[in-house]
């Protein structure tokens, strides 16, 4: 019995999976037809009953989020799909949209109906030209086929390079034509989101999961996963493994199980550390191979399920270098709005560069941790918090390795050994 459960990915292996024809071949747009015939509240209830939770990282129950939208307020409502996939390690929505953009469009129709919205916006990151083409073409084909434009419109909005726009309020500001900086909350988007109107912001995978739920029922979806983490999801395995890729499985699968399917860590090497859900989630080590990868399991082990971006690093990888590079990423992507994140990441990078180069003393580790304490929970949004995760978790598990840099006066690792092509050349 397979541990995998391809639902979203079930037909990706068909050459025309991204076309309207290919999508319809497997019942595409029957769920939206079914949902449109239902009372909107019944659709919300169905999604609530399914137990679907947000796949963008926070795991907030999707149906509950939809239920927050005020009804009968005579205001325009909006659905905004967050397709700004940018969290390091995260690579699920992009292949999904390349292989099957129509499932997202169908999900948009159902969600719009449920929340009484006439307009959906798909905010896609700008650095994926071909995915933009696919989604844009799918929208055009859906209009041509009369699927869109009959009371529900979907607009593709293309970003321009800013990780922070994955934060939902920054995304809304960006979509309104401003700098993508997070907004004060309250008001929350459900009350005053896009153009200050009630707005639902959902991740691609969350919305794309809806058509199957409508077609197969809440019970079917409930039957997969764990007690509080229902359904299937895309786990993205990358790094030092034999066969990286996408693994759609019920929530609760473990890394050990996925690694088995992927052929394990690359031959001759051992697992050193990994991220359960992107770089903003505290690192795990080989001690966490059997942690159930659901919202509760990962949290109980001290991290977050996040985007289920499983980045695997073997023993050739210098954790200080890895953490430095992530920290440089946060510095580059800090929006600049708040002091702790803007100035803190600037400073963190400098300390980590020194540490990686073997400069400094053990006191610098204490300073680093204290700095993280002054950033974590003090920043305007979660970007600053995320920036501290790799640092604090790596010091927790690999303090000795930091010290080794200092005693060695340099990084003790050979960067060539960790490359994909190390075997070929070395």
């Amino acid at each position: 019995m397979t541990k995998l459960a391809p639902v979203l990915s079930a037909h990706w292996d068909e050459k025309d999976s991204f076309t309207l024809e290919g999508y319809k071949r497997h019942g595409g747009y029957t769920a939206s037809a079914k949902a449109l015939a239902m009372d909107p509240d019944a659709v919300i209830q169905l999604v609530k009953d399914s137990g679907l939770r947000g796949r963008g990282g926070a795991g907030f129950p999707t149906g509950m989020k939809w239920g927050f939208i005020p009804q009968g307020d005579n205001k325009d409502h909006y659905l905004v799909v967050n397709a700004d996939e940018s969290e390091p390690g995260t690579c699920k929505d992009t292949p999904l949209l390349m292989a099957n953009p129509h499932v997202l469009i169908e999900g948009c129709i159902i969600a719009c109906h449920a929340i009484r919205a006439k307009h959906a916006f798909i905010y896609i990151r700008g650095e994926v030209t071909h995915v933009v083409r696919r989604v844009n073409q799918a929208i055009a084909d859906a209009y041509a086929a009369g699927i869109l434009g009959n009371g529900i419109d979907v607009v593709l909005h293309i970003g321009a390079g800013a990780y922070i726009c994955g934060e939902e309020t920054a995304l809304l500001d960006s979509l309104e034509g401003f700098r993508g900086q997070p907004r004060l909350r309250p008001p929350f988007p459900a009350i005053a989101g896009l153009y200050a109107r009630p707005t639902v912001v959902n991740n691609v995978e969350s919305i794309a999961s809806v058509p199957a739920i409508v077609n197969n029922g809440a019970d079917w979806y409930q039957s997969m996963g764990t007690e509080k983490s229902k359904g299937t999801t895309l786990y993205s395995l990358s790094g030092h493994v034999v066969n990286p890729g996408q693994f759609e499985a019920p929530l609760g699968i473990t890394l050990r199980e996925i690694l088995d399917l992927a052929g394990g860590v690359r031959p001759g090497h051992t697992l050193k550390f990994w991220t359960p859900g992107g770089s903003s989630t505290p690192l795990f080590t080989d001690a966490h191979l059997d942690v159930p990868l659901d919202y509760e399991g990962v949290a109980a082990a001290g991290s977050m399920l996040g985007t289920k971006a499983l980045q695997i690093f073997d023993e050739t990888t210098c954790v200080v270098r890895a953490v430095l590079r992530w920290t440089e990423f946060y510095k580059h992507e800090s929006c600049g709005k708040c002091t702790p994140c803007r100035e803190g990441t600037w400073w963190l990078v400098q300390i980590l560069r020194d540490l990686e180069a073997g400069k400094g003393t053990e006191a610098d580790l204490a300073k680093l941790l204290d700095l993280c304490d002054n950033i974590m929970g003090r920043s305007f949004c979660a970007l600053g918090d995320g920036a501290t995760s790799p640092i604090t978790s790596s010091i927790k598990y690999f303090r000795d390795e930091y010290i080794a840099h200092l005693t060695n006066g340099a990084c003790p690792f050979d960067p060539v050994a960790s490359t994909l092509f190390a075997g070929a050349g070395a």
């Binding site: 004060l184 510095k331 600049g336 100035e343 990441t345 600037w346 305007f380």
Partner: protein
């Protein structure tokens, strides 16, 4: 008066209860208790942003604690809230110290050469909330040191803490988003679009609210240390908005002026003219001693007794009149008013040294004197109607107040005029376009309610019938009315009776009971009974020999549309001139008496609301005397006692004038003029004075002048097409008096009109063309 019911909420901060109105932010509730939470981005008049994170505190509500410290500048109080600031929470205390350390990571240690040093919120709060030494050993972010973002404002990005007060002010208060936050992360920086400087009329406010030395004004840069300055509360003399101000003086010289804090008037803002135009007091060659014209016709210096004697004798010898400009203080205007009646025994006095009309004089006496429409009425209005008034140019704080309500609740604004202005565009006002001179019918067509406010500018007097139409509109709708002159002293002069048809306190001169009131106050037997002459009638009377003497204070002959006649009258009459500096009047005067400038005396203005704006002498050791004092001395010399030796005595006397509840002057309806027929190369001129122009009080302010709007002549697209003119072509405007040649700008203006600034570089219409509104001018491509 209705009392607004406000829900009150009680919270506990650091163990103390405080009860504040619902909606109050935690940081301000703490202030009520005297608890100062450090902050940078917070500003009570800007929308909360929560960016700097300096004000973090611990909060719990009904026993549920927030998991992390919260920005107290963004969280409104709630029932059951318990707040622990840095004083009682080690978490909040550490969070604040942590943020302060981070703020200083990239801040240069250049306090010794920074203008903000000594009055710097960052410096102060680094002392209260920071560590004495830094743990940062890395490389600081560097930028090119200060760059000019306008000729007036410099930006030092290294010092900036990115609180965004300046950019938020520019957008939220001034609606001039010419400065923005650019780039991102640690490279985020304030900036302009490279081809468009920060030329906002309100740019100086950003310098004032900058909590570090990132924004500095060119005028004050490197001039002083705050602890060397003596600060005096003052009032702005530049316009009728009535801004509360602070004047900072070192060793007898004004070095800077700041906006004062008056919630009911200017809140905490002012305009750049009010802030940065003060050097005229010292830039000009000040008169220091009296002068008398000798038998050879040359002015020569004289002693005070000599000069006063000649002045008194000359005025006594002829029938004399008073011309007092619109910039006199309330007390000085009162002095002129009393001097005219008591010493010269005449009602021939007028403060309107500008284009004016008899219709206006009746309107002021019938509708404006004693009226009490206020800024608060704008706050509550359902609609604001602008007539002959460009608030952004002519009373900038009125503009800010209308803009505040527009941004807050989309207040409807209607503007009647011939050319759509930048200010009208910013307010998204409904622009009612009329041919210059045809305002009356458009006014009559407005529908207002008793919650509406009509703001009438002094330029309404330039269109026959406009003020009659306004009065009729007020009568038919119950709308509130305010008259907003440009000059700071006009409302006070009106109340002081420095006009031919009114005695002080709005008493009609033709009303016997009114005269009895004032005669009793002044301890005089009788007062002249006939209404006096207006400015233009006084000029005419001099030129026809009916008046032989003039006492003139603070008048620029070029401000009127009959400057040739005015100059001729000054040549002809015996003129006593009270002035701070040589002028077209002193050049023609028989006696010149130097007076104190505004910074050298105390007094008050009445702003357009009629609200007193009093001030003390900022320069305490000046020997110059106020107009009031000199008028008393002349009167003394004439054998008459004015009893107005000091400002205090004037204030006391004014205070004892009771309210007038008798009949008011009635307003005789004036009809609009018929629009003149126009040839294809003719248009009707319309204009206004821009805030920043060639005004005499802006002399010597090169940096400020650099931010003035470009001088252009505006024509409509239809006319432009007919003439074959595009933006930037040269247009020649001419009358039989002269011409101006200006760069063309094609904009939203009545097809029959042409607009040019009234008193800007290259375009001084009253001098160059002799007309400013409603008259026919020839417009051709130059």
């Amino acid at each position: 008066m209705t009392t607004e019911v406000v829900d009150m909420i009680t919270v506990v901060i650091d163990g103390f209860e405080v009860t504040v109105p619902k909606g109050t932010l935690v940081i301000r509730a703490a202030e009520q208790l005297g608890i100062q939470i450090p902050r940078f981005c917070d500003h009570p008049l800007l929308d909360p942003v929560g960016a700097c994170r300096q004000c973090l505190v611990d909060i719990e509500i009904n026993g549920r604690a927030f998991p992390k410290p919260q920005a107290s500048c963004t969280i409104p109080v709630e029932t059951g809230m318990i707040v622990k600031t840095q004083l009682t929470s080690t978490v909040a205390e550490k969070a604040q110290r942590g943020v302060m350390e981070l703020l200083l990571v990239n801040h240069p240690l250049d306090c010794p050469v920074c203008d903000k040093g000594g009055e710097c919120p960052l410096q102060n709060q680094a002392m209260s909330t920071g560590e004495s030494s830094s743990r940062f050993e890395g490389v600081k972010r560097v930028f090119e040191k200060p760059i000019n973002i306008s000729s007036q404002v410099l930006l030092d990005r290294e010092r900036c803490v990115l609180c965004a007060r300046c950019t938020r002010f520019s957008e939220q208060i001034a609606s001039d988003p010419f400065i923005t936050l650019n780039e991102r992360g640690a490279l985020q920086q304030v900036g302009i679009y490279e081809n468009k400087p920060f030329e906002s009329y309100f740019s100086g406010n950003t310098v004032q609210i900058c909590p570090v030395g990132a924004l500095t004004g060119a005028a004050y840069r490197f001039r002083a240390r705050p602890f060397d300055l003596v600060s005096t509360p003052s009032a702005c003399e530049h316009c009728a908005s009535g801004c509360d101000m602070r004047t900072d003086v070192r060793r007898g010289k004004t070095l800077r002026r700041l906006a004062g804090d008056d919630a009911s008037v200017n809140e905490e803002w002012n305009c750049d003219k009010g802030r940065w135009a003060f050097k005229y007091v010292t830039a000009v060659d000040r008169l220091k001693v009296p002068q008398i014209r000798n038998s050879a016709g040359v002015l020569e210096e004289a002693s005070w007794p000599e000069a006063l004697a000649v002045a008194a004798a000359g005025l006594k010898a002829a029938k004399s009149a008073v011309l007092v400009g619109g910039r006199a203080t309330y007390e000085d205007a009162y002095g002129y008013s009393k001097f005219a009646r008591v010493a010269l025994k005449t009602n021939d006095i007028d403060f309107r040294s500008r284009v004016s009309s008899d219709e206006e004089r009746e309107f002021l006496a019938a509708r404006v004197v004693g009226s009490s429409t206020t800024y608060r009425d704008i706050d509550k209005a359902d609609q604001v109607l602008l007539v002959g008034f460009e608030p952004e140019e002519e009373s900038p704080i009125v503009f800010l107040r209308i803009n505040k309500q527009f941004r807050k609740r989309a207040l409807k604004v209607v503007s009647i005029g011939s050319k759509e202005s930048i200010g009208v565009e910013k307010l998204k006002a409904e622009f009612v376009k009329v041919a210059p001179g045809q305002e009356a019918s458009a006014i009559a067509a407005q529908s207002l309610t008793n919650k509406s406010v009509i703001l009438v500018g002094e330029r309404a007097a330039e269109s026959a019938g406009a003020l009659s139409a306004v009065a009729a509109l007020v009568d038919s709708t119950g709308a509130k009315l305010a008259w907003i002159p440009r000059r700071a002293g006009e409302r006070g002069a009106l109340e002081a009776g420095a006009i031919g048809n009114l005695l002080p306190g709005g008493r009609p001169v033709t009303d016997a009971a009114a005269r009895v009131d004032i005669a009793a106050l002044w301890n005089t037997d009788s007062l002249p009974t006939e209404a006096g002459r207006s400015t233009s009638q006084i000029i005419d009377a001099v030129n026809t020999g009916q008046i032989g003497g003039l006492i003139v204070g603070g008048v620029d002959p070029l401000d009127g549309d009959n400057s040739h006649a005015t100059l001729a009258a000054l040549e002809k009459a015996f003129v006593v001139s009270l002035e701070i500096a040589p002028s077209a009047v002193t050049q023609r005067a028989n006696v010149v008496l130097p007076v104190a400038a505004i910074t050298e005396k105390s007094g008050s203005f009445l702003n357009w609301e009629g609200r007193p704006r009093s001030f003390d002498a900022a320069v305490s050791d000046s020997l110059n005397r106020s107009d009031l004092r000199i008028l008393s001395m002349i009167a003394e010399e004439m054998g008459i006692s004015l009893n107005l030796g000091t400002v205090t005595s004037a204030i006391k006397e004014i205070a004892s004038i009771g309210k007038w509840d008798g009949a008011r002057v009635s307003l005789n309806k004036v009809n609009a003029s018929t629009q003149p027929a126009l040839n294809s190369d003719q248009a009707l001129i319309t204009s206004w004075r821009r805030l920043l122009d060639l005004g005499t009080l802006q002399q010597g302010e090169e940096n400020l002048a650099g931010t003035a709007r470009r001088t252009v002549a505006v024509i409509s697209p239809k006319r432009a097409q007919a003439m074959g003119v595009v933006d930037g072509d040269q247009l020649k405007l001419s009358t039989d008096k002269g011409s101006v040649t200006l760069s063309a700008l094609v904009e939203n203006i009545h097809d029959d009109a042409v607009w040019a600034p009234r008193n800007s570089r290259g375009s001084q219409l009253l001098v160059n063309l002799g007309v400013a509104h409603g008259a026919v001018v020839t417009v051709v491509k130059a």
